[in-house]
């Protein structure tokens, strides 16, 4: 086994060169290059964390904006609904008023028509009475030859009309 057979003649050289090489690796690579690489890794991790935090903040802000928009929209909707309701009641009131006015007018017209009908009826009745009195006078004259005065005929007709 050369490792043991040669140990006496090679140990010094092995140790010498190992210390040189390992020293170079430790100071040149472990101490000089490694921290820079780790710094890069740390920087990247920090950047990623920062970006995530920024994204989270942006999300929160967006949520707040949306919430504000929602409340605004709800308020606007409620306002619009209130306005609509007010307009509806106003319109209903106006329509009612107009209907009432029309009703009054119509009632007046109806009353006028009724009075005119009533006067027409009275005129017709009085003309019926006079016609009946004349007819009664004629009938009495033709049947009995007696002369009945116009006044008597009229009173007889009136009596008949009253008693049916």
């Amino acid at each position: 086994m050369p490792q043991i057979a040669q140990i006496a003649s090679t140990y010094a050289g092995q140790i010498f060169w190992l210390l040189i090489v390992f020293g170079l690796i430790y100071f040149g690579i472990g101490r000089a290059m490694l921290p820079k690489i780790e710094a890069t890794v740390d920087m990247r991790a920090r950047k990623v964390a920062d970006d995530l935090a920024a994204a989270e903040a942006a999300r929160v802000a967006a949520d707040a904006t949306e919430e504000a928009w929602r409340t605004k929209m709800a308020a606007a909707k409620a306002e619009a609904q209130a306005e609509t309701a007010a307009a509806k009641t106003k319109a209903a009131l106006a329509a009612e008023k107009r209907v009432k006015a029309a009703d009054v007018k119509a009632a007046a017209k109806v009353a006028e028509a009724e009075t005119s009908i009533r006067s027409a009826t009275a005129i017709a009745l009085s003309s019926i009475e006079s016609a009946a009195a004349e007819a009664a006078q004629d009938m009495v004259a033709k049947l009995s030859g007696a002369k009945v005065t116009a006044a008597a005929a009229a009173s007889a007709v009136k009596e008949a009309m009253v008693h049916g």
Binding site: P2, T10, G13, Q14, W17, V21, M33, L34, T40
Partner: protein, 261 residues
Amino acid sequence: MAAEGGKIDPMHQFTVEPLVPLHVGGYDLSFTNSALFMVVVLGLIWVFMLGGMKRELVPGRWQVAVESVTGFISNMLAQNIGPQGKAYVPYVFSLFMFIIVANMLGMMPLGIIPGVHAFTVTSHLTVTGVLAVISFSIVLVVGFWKHGFHFFSLFVPHGTPTIMVPLLFVIELFSFLIRPFSLALRLFVAMTAGHILMKVLAGFVINGLNAEALWVAPVVALPSFILMIGITLLELLVCAIQAYVFALLTSLYINDAVNLH
């Protein structure tokens, strides 16, 4: 190399061969194939890490790969040690990268290039031993620096009856002191054993094909080759797991020193 003179020598791959001789004060500090592969490991890690240095906010594939490795180690330390573990990320990362790249480099099929042979740095007890001693030293230094002599309470678990304290102290101290050996031996043995097994199987394949009897090739070489494919995949897994275990145990030991228990 391995089959010189028709003989299979599964140990030859671990031989350290000097490339550039260098002797300083009686010590042999020659630039060897082992040192060469360490330098290659350093270069590979450096090139890999360069891909992570673009530092873009939206990373490319390479940058993601680098960041996932660094993230893996820093997560491991954060989970095992807590917020204080951040201070040890550079060390554990260097350790993990050095071991895993060295392990993987040793598995590369460089042998197909004549005269070149893959060398596994971590299959040497000297190397794994030094890494384990560094880890253990960090544990000791951090432990005594943070807790002073209170660090010895690590060896007395909570709720120990007073009469048991001396015995448990000795047992816990022993298990604590064995840590660097277990760290070093585990990696060294895992890498060595795997490479020896692969070399032996490769010897079966080559010798089976070269055998005079024709029936040897299908009966010995082919199954060995199929087995080698599986063992290679297993070895790649072991390469990653051993690096992970070394880094994980180091972070657990550092946790003991930082937080006691």
